[in-house]
């Protein structure tokens, strides 16, 4: 399969990507950049933008896959001002680095996306919330915002339309939970970034108690293209009926060419791994992957052909998440990998609710026992029960944290039991 020719798909979000530098404003403009915004401001109808985004079936690319147009539409007509657009560039889901790549490739694409979202939401402030590991990306954004401002694309009276929008970069102090929209809003307000269970939703009472739209970098980057080329075009980019647009897949782990690949929504998993990422490294066999970051379940080899879009994965009981495909081969112990994932989640729990704060370390410890060959069937039962209970935690963090564990139990029970039966890890 790895010898198969690389298929050619249209490159949209990464069309201006250079290996060693960012795209300039001119380059972005030459590829049609800011045309969507110009048209939108010319038409002067924020609702139109909302509708196009809804029609395009643009689903949030940060992991939750909430329809972007619908989110905009939940802002009440008479909701108070100022309103905010928060660009979520926190990207802390393990395996995920597409937002960084998007910013490094084409920062103006993101700026245009933010202004479009801002106009659609009638927001006057855009805030890019960025993780501290991406300091360089933060500086790029700050610099390019100034470039955009000098061209009348950001700031007062954008493109002489009378629409004002300021964009600032907010640096996070660094925590996984800050990627959660409500926690991010708390972080922006300088309070402890614990998530806040809705209602009220951020679009009703978000940042400073005002309507706030939080969108992922990739979601925002899609917007200029949808506005310029239309909803139908966006839909036609996908390979599957239910999908829409392209998706930037971050492929990592046991592959020859780890990296970001922009591919049509619905591209088969096997093609991503075998063709685009160059196949499994060192002649290994594909064993499983986490399809969308650490908080998704292992997809086993029997589903190697699955089309990678939200709906197809959902039907099989999986989530596309951030589309960070982390690949494991036949030599990897998935129990051990799961211990690592649980370690991550136990450490990053914000500490708000009991199941997450105290239950995750417990499950991690149990899983460690299993990995060390000191587990029993009772240990496995305990893990499974506790994982089930994690779904009654406060936010989506704990359910995400146990998704790989539950996936492991569902698809790789034999491997888990081998640890118990052999009194140790069969891979060591």
């Amino acid at each position: 399969m790895s010898s198969q020719e690389t298929k050619k798909y249209p490159s949209v979000l990464l069309q201006n990507r250079h290996p060693d530098r960012i795209a300039t404003l001119d380059e972005y403009r030459r590829s049609g950049g800011y045309e969507g915004l110009t048209a939108l401001l010319g038409a002067g109808n924020p609702k139109q933008a909302q509708q196009v985004l809804l029609d395009a079936n643009l689903l949030g690319r940060g992991g939750a896959a909430f329809p972007a147009g619908k989110k905009m539409m939940t802002i009440a007509e008479n909701a108070p001002f100022p309103r905010y657009v928060v660009c979520n560039a926190d990207e802390m889901e393990p395996g995920t680095f597409k937002d960084r790549v998007l910013i490094f490739a084409d920062p103006h694409q993101l700026i245009e996306g933010i202004v479009i979202a801002g106009y659609a939401a009638r927001a006057s402030h855009g805030i890019i919330f960025i993780r501290p590991e991406y300091e360089q990306a933060a500086r790029i954004m700050e610099r390019e915002i100034e470039v955009a401002r000098s061209e009348g694309l950001v700031g007062r009276n954008i493109l002489q339309s009378g629409y004002d929008m300021e964009i600032v970069v907010h640096r996070s102090g660094g925590r996984y939970i800050c990627g959660e929209a409500t926690a991010q809003i708390n972080a922006l307000m300088g309070v402890r970034p614990n998530p806040k269970q809705p209602p009220p939703y951020p679009t009703t009472k978000g940042l400073w108690q005002r309507p706030t739209v939080v969108q992922n970098v990739e979601t925002l980057c899609c917007m200029p293209h949808i506005l310029r080329n239309g909803a139908q075009w966006f839909g036609s980019l996908a390979l599957t009926e239910n999908g829409a647009g392209t998706k930037v897949f971050c492929v990592s782990g046991r592959v020859e060419r780890p990296g970001c690949y922009e591919l049509p929504m619905g591209v088969p998993l096997k093609e991503i791994v075998e063709v685009h990422a160059g196949g499994i490294k060192n002649g290994g066999r594909f064993k499983a992957c986490l399809p969308g970051g650490a908080s998704t379940a292992f997809v086993p080899a029997r589903l190697y052909d699955i089309p990678m879009d939200y709906e197809s994965l959902k039907q099989e009981g999986f989530r596309l998440g951030t589309a960070a495909v982390m690949v494991f081969d036949h030599s990897d112990c998935l129990v051990d990998a799961t211990v690592n994932l649980l370690d991550f989640f136990a450490r990053e729990s914000c500490g708000w609710c009991t199941p997450c704060r105290d239950g995750l370390p417990y499950i991690r410890d149990l899983m460690k026992r299993v990995e060390a060959g000191r587990g029993s069937t009772e240990t496995i039962e305990k893990i499974e029960t506790m994982c089930r209970h994690m779904w009654s935690a406060y936010c989506a963090f704990a359910p995400g944290a146990v998704s790989p564990v539950q996936g492991l139990m569902a698809e790789f029970k034999d491997e888990v039991m081998a640890h118990v039966e052999q009194g140790g890890c069969p891979f060591k």
Binding site: R175, R192, Q197, A346, R347, E348, S349, C350, G351, W352, C353, T354, P355, R357, D358, G359, P361, Y362, D365, R369, K382, T385, M386, H389, S392, A393, Y394
Partner: protein
């Protein structure tokens, strides 16, 4: 009213009721740690999980986070929910130490209860327990972080509910830590509530540490007597010693909380300095001898100088029963008094306030929280009645606008507008606002007038005692009444000077105040004083004059439970029981009648009689230290020994004062008692006659004020609260300070003809220009100024320390 079914029981509840609260209404107590009725729901602990079988929500959900809705069918016993709750407990118990045998929370620990009832009996977790370092949080609250179950109640109470910022939550994940930035005394005067709200033993009561287990204590519901609000408390007694006070829930007065003055002010009750013996001429004597001597000498004096030559001096820390006894005696025997107030102005202001409070205007502490605008005039809530500040904060949190008109640098734990106005200006401002048309309001209060106009539930909180004048009281009442007439649900809330000031207003005789009575002593008309639970020598602002006057007396009889200067100056002294021993009736600032039962029988604590050993090795059939009687009873006993004296039960009120006819203290049991409130006029009559204007202050004035710790008669002897006292200082506006060449941090001498004292200088821009503020602090000899508000023409100020001194 949504109707739902919980465990097969149908219940209809008001809109907005959470399922956890709805369950409570049908007697189902769903486990909870983070949920607290006063703090609300945050969904953190997850132990209130129940299963939703039908309705808009399905599956295991938190009953604190979901509002009751029509058609809901909820099961608290569903196996899935029970198993989830059991796991939550198990997770919480992973790190909780098994130190229950030495934990003061043991026996009333919510975590203990839930662990047992949740069915988590066996430890399955095999890892180590997480441990923390504790902090020294000061003399009141003990910190034991290892016990923490991270419910967030403490930080939410401390910061959100109470508005203080020095305790909170730090760290992340399973290392979340609750405490301060560094070790140190908690700054909030409500810090003791941490002990009550913590569901386990992270915060425990420090003064009573290891004094006993909860189930060892004699626990009695009672009422706090450290300010006018009358918060409900639970008294804990062990071995004849009051060891701990806890907040007791009251839906109308204090809600769930009390202040630290109320919680830690009880030290006097079991102090080894408490007088236990009667004294005659300073020497201990048998109670009967003292009684005979007092009666004999009173008889002599009345025989020689007439019945009007004896006067009773009392105060607002006495029970209604004692005050009634005083009044009855004075009336029947023709004695002067009882004089229950210190000064003439104070008496006039307090009695005017009591007279103006009508049933439609009087608001409870709880109702204060529902106001949408609160105007504080001539009152300093944090220092005078701390829980009022906490209630005002809740109103502010609900969106109320808060405005303070007061010369003092009032600080409240909330956002408010402060207008520093001299005491002579407060009534003028109120008068401007109180006019039916706000158009007349002068320029700078237009804003406030407009806000009042837009408000729907405004409350005027007004001082009524030593600082706010009678005119201020009058104008505050008029303003409230006018707002009421304008169709608003307006309220009036007086901050009075003592626990039973309202009762004192009704029971005071002629003269009502000591200041007037002094004139009668000075001209030789009054020759004997019976001082009941009052301490003029510490409370009267003109000590020199008082001492001269007292020297003229033929006899001073003092009845008190604490050893005061006045008690030491008495010819005959009788020890009385404390409120903890007598129980009795108090009437708070909104005319609410509250009854307390005796918490214990009294006597010297075993810790003082046991010679350090326990249990005591010497057995006896009496209780040592029980000579004391209630002040009212003692008074009756003395009087009944007089020929032609009266003999009545202190519990009878007929004939004492008209509104008390038929009053039965036993019936007046508070919340639902038939006498829950003192009968007030149901509505305002015609406006009381116009009074003359305020006397304008010429050169400025010096105010002797109350502070949260160190001024109130009983709590000021508490060693724990003494640790919290800040050094008493003179506070004034920086521009005034520069008039005397003073700056912040200097020391200065304040002197009058009667004496001098030296204090540090604090400057504050929120002090009214021309006003000097000095606390009536136990550490200051402040009784040289003659009046609680004295003109600066009588005061000299001289810098004695600081730069350039």
């Amino acid at each position: 009213m949504p109707k739902l079914i919980i465990d097969d029981i149908s219940v209809a509840v008001p809109e907005g009721t959470k399922v956890i609260e709805a369950a409570e209404q049908v007697g189902i107590h769903i486990p909870r740690f983070c949920y607290h009725p006063a703090l609300g729901s945050v969904g953190a602990c997850r132990v209130c999980a129940v299963k939703f079988l039908q309705g808009p929500f399905k599956g295991v959900q938190m009953s604190c986070m979901i509002e009751a809705a029509d058609g809901m069918v909820v099961s608290t016993t569903d196996p899935e929910a029970v198993d989830f709750r059991r796991h939550v407990i198990e997770w919480l118990m992973i790190n909780h130490p098994h130190d229950c045998p030495v934990c003061d929370e043991g026996g009333h620990c919510l975590l203990q209860d839930m662990t047992v009832s949740g069915g988590h009996g066996m430890r399955r977790y095999q890892g180590k327990k997480r441990t923390y370092l504790d902090q020294d949080l000061g003399p009141l609250v003990q910190h034991e972080m290892n016990r923490c179950i991270q419910c967030y109640r403490c930080s939410r109470f401390y910061q959100e509910y109470a508005g203080y910022r020095d305790l909170g939550v730090m760290g992340i994940a399973s290392r979340v830590y609750y405490g301060r930035f560094g070790p140190g005394t908690l700054k909030s005067p409500f810090s003791g509530n941490l002990i009550d709200i913590c569901p386990t033993g992270v915060y425990t009561d420090r003064p009573s540490r290891y004094k006993g287990r909860r189930w060892d204590y004699e626990r009695t519901p009672s009422v706090c007597i450290h300010c006018c609000l009358g918060c409900r408390i639970t008294v804990n007694v062990r071995y004849r010693e009051v060891v701990r006070i806890e907040a007791r829930y009251s839906p109308t007065v204090n809600g769930h909380f009390i202040c630290d003055r109320g919680r830690y002010g009880f030290f006097y009750a079991s102090s080894d300095r408490r007088p236990r013996k009667a004294r005659s001429g300073g020497a201990e004597t048998r109670p009967k001898n003292a009684r005979d001597e007092a009666a004999h000498r009173l008889e002599e004096i009345t025989a020689r100088h007439g019945s009007g030559s004896v006067a009773v001096v009392g105060g607002s820390r006495s029970t209604l029963e004692t005050l009634a006894a005083e009044r009855r005696i004075c009336r029947q025997l023709g004695w002067q008094g009882p004089s229950l107030f210190t000064g003439t102005e104070e008496s006039a202001a307090a009695r005017r306030a009591a007279g103006h409070l009508t049933t439609d205007l009087a608001v409870s502490l709880e109702a204060l929280k529902n106001a949408d605008l609160i105007l504080v005039a001539g009152a300093d809530p944090i220092n005078e009645a701390p829980m009022a500040a906490l209630a005002i904060r809740q109103a502010a949190r609900n969106g109320a606008h808060i405005e303070v008109i007061d010369p003092r640098p009032v600080t409240l734990p909330l956002e408010y507008v402060h207008r520093p106005a001299g005491t002579d200006k407060i009534s003028e401002i109120l008068r401007g606002l109180g006019k039916p048309s706000t158009e007349d309001a002068s320029g700078d209060i237009q804003d406030l007038a407009a806000r009042l106009d837009q408000s729907r539930r405004p409350v005027v909180v007004c001082g009524a005692g030593k600082i706010a004048s009678e005119r201020t009281v009058e104008q505050a009442a008029r303003l409230a009444r006018n707002l009421r007439r304008a169709g608003k649900k307006a309220g009036l809330f007086f901050v009075m000077t003592g626990a039973n000031t309202f009762a004192a207003c009704r029971m005071a005789g002629d003269p009502a105040d000591l200041e007037t009575l002094l004139l009668m002593i000075e001209d030789g008309k009054v020759r004997a004083l019976v001082v009941v639970e009052a301490d003029p020598m510490s409370e009267y602002p003109d000590l020199a004059r008082l001492v001269d006057a007292l020297a003229k007396l033929d006899l001073m009889v003092v009845l008190d439970c604490i050893d005061t200067e006045t008690a030491r100056a008495a010819h005959v002294f009788f020890p009385t029981q404390t409120f903890f021993e007598t129980g009795g009736t108090l009437i708070n600032n909104e005319a609410r009648i509250q009854q307390a039962r005796p918490a214990f029988a009294g006597g010297t604590p075993i810790s003082q009689t046991g010679g350090g050993s326990h249990p005591p090795r010497v057995f006896r059939d009496d209780i040592p230290g029980t000579e004391a009687l209630s002040a009212g009873q003692l008074l009756m006993d003395i009087v009944s020994a007089l020929s032609g004296g009266i003999s009545r039960s202190v519990e009878e009120f007929d004939g004492v004062a008209p509104e008390f006819s038929g009053f039965d203290p036993v019936e007046a049991t508070g919340e639902r008692g038939t006498w829950a409130k003192l009968p007030l006029r149901t509505a305002a009559g015609p406006d009381s006659p116009q009074m003359g204007g305020e006397t304008p202050i010429k050169k400025g004035e010096l105010l002797l004020v109350e502070s949260v710790y160190g001024t109130e008669a009983l709590s000021r002897s508490s060693p724990w609260l003494q640790e919290l006292e800040s050094e008493p200082a003179l506070t004034l506006h920086p521009e005034d300070a520069s008039r005397w060449g003073l700056q912040h941090g200097d020391r200065c001498e304040l002197s009058t003809e009667a004496g001098a004292l030296t204090v540090p200088v604090h400057t504050s821009r929120s002090t009214a220009p021309g006003t000097l503020v000095l606390p009536r602090h136990r550490r200051l000899r402040w009784q040289v100024f003659q009046h609680f508000r004295s003109g600066l023409d009588t005061v000299r100020i001289r810098k004695t320390g600081g730069e350039g001194a």
